[in-house]
Symmetry: C2
Subunit: 153 residues, 2 copies
């Protein structure tokens, strides 16, 4: 379960965004902030079964959609048919395994500049008024490389 510090932090995040503070929202956001596992709705429901035994999946969907609208959370697809969610506290992008679906965070010094440059060029070329971007890189995760006999050891 989420630490006291996380509970305080997430409470403040909800207030800053003028979102009504319900136990469900608070607990879900705290879970996302303290886990980087890119969970599905089902994963979240299972993980919170102690704290919120009676939560409906509608509520989880509603909550996550609200967070997405407020740009607190991003949605990810890894090809398994369901949507994965990720608290977007600091800029990063994702490497997604085409074999097992594993999603890992990636960033590097200068990544924000790459992003900014991409957005500026895009605005110039397309005339769009840019509000965000997503980058994803696909490939085989280390475990799957071994499993498939592509990499030894």
């Amino acid at each position: 379960m989420a630490s006291n510090a996380v509970m305080e932090e997430t409470l403040q995040v909800l207030k800053d965004h003028k979102l009504r503070v319900t136990p469900q929202r608070h607990i879900i956001l705290a879970y996302l902030v303290s886990h980087h596992n890119h969970p599905t709705v089902e994963t979240i429901r299972d993980a919170l079964s102690k704290e919120l035994p009676n939560i409906g999946s509608s509520t989880i969907y509603n909550t996550l959609n609200t967070f997405v609208d407020h740009h607190l959370v991003v949605e990810l697809q890894n090809g398994d048919g369901s949507t994965h969610y990720d608290y977007f506290g600091s800029p990063h992008y994702h490497a997604i395994c085409t074999n097992c679906g594993r999603i890992v965070d990636v960033t590097y010094p200068g990544f924000s500049d790459t992003e900014k440059s991409l957005e500026e060029k895009t605005a110039e070329i397309s005339g769009y008024m840019i509000s965000g971007n997503h980058m994803e890189v696909y490939g085989l995760c280390p475990e799957c490389q071994i499993k498939l006999g592509i990499k030894n050891d």
Copy 2:
């Protein structure tokens, strides 16, 4: 309908990928090569209703999934609930309107270098064996900027 040149080109593409040449595959691929409208399955079905009046949507899904497996086609989501498909003949990325869903192609000199650099850095950091990437930029298209009163004229 697709030109003779496109029909010849797509025939060769199918053969190069050792795909069995059926009228359905040939016509769908020719449609994708000669249109950059990022269609859904329904859009494709409607557009080809003259040439393939009895095609089943299963066939369109099967065909597109096969093309995706062969990296001829990429899938895109624009938030409207259905998957959009795009023949990926030359490297580009997409600007997607968050208001109306419009998807436009974007590229610029040096884009391939940006891509390559992103993939190399990702491989180094994550240990993934990289096979591809997707970049998307979100914002308001010029038409929606006007419609929403953000841009005049």
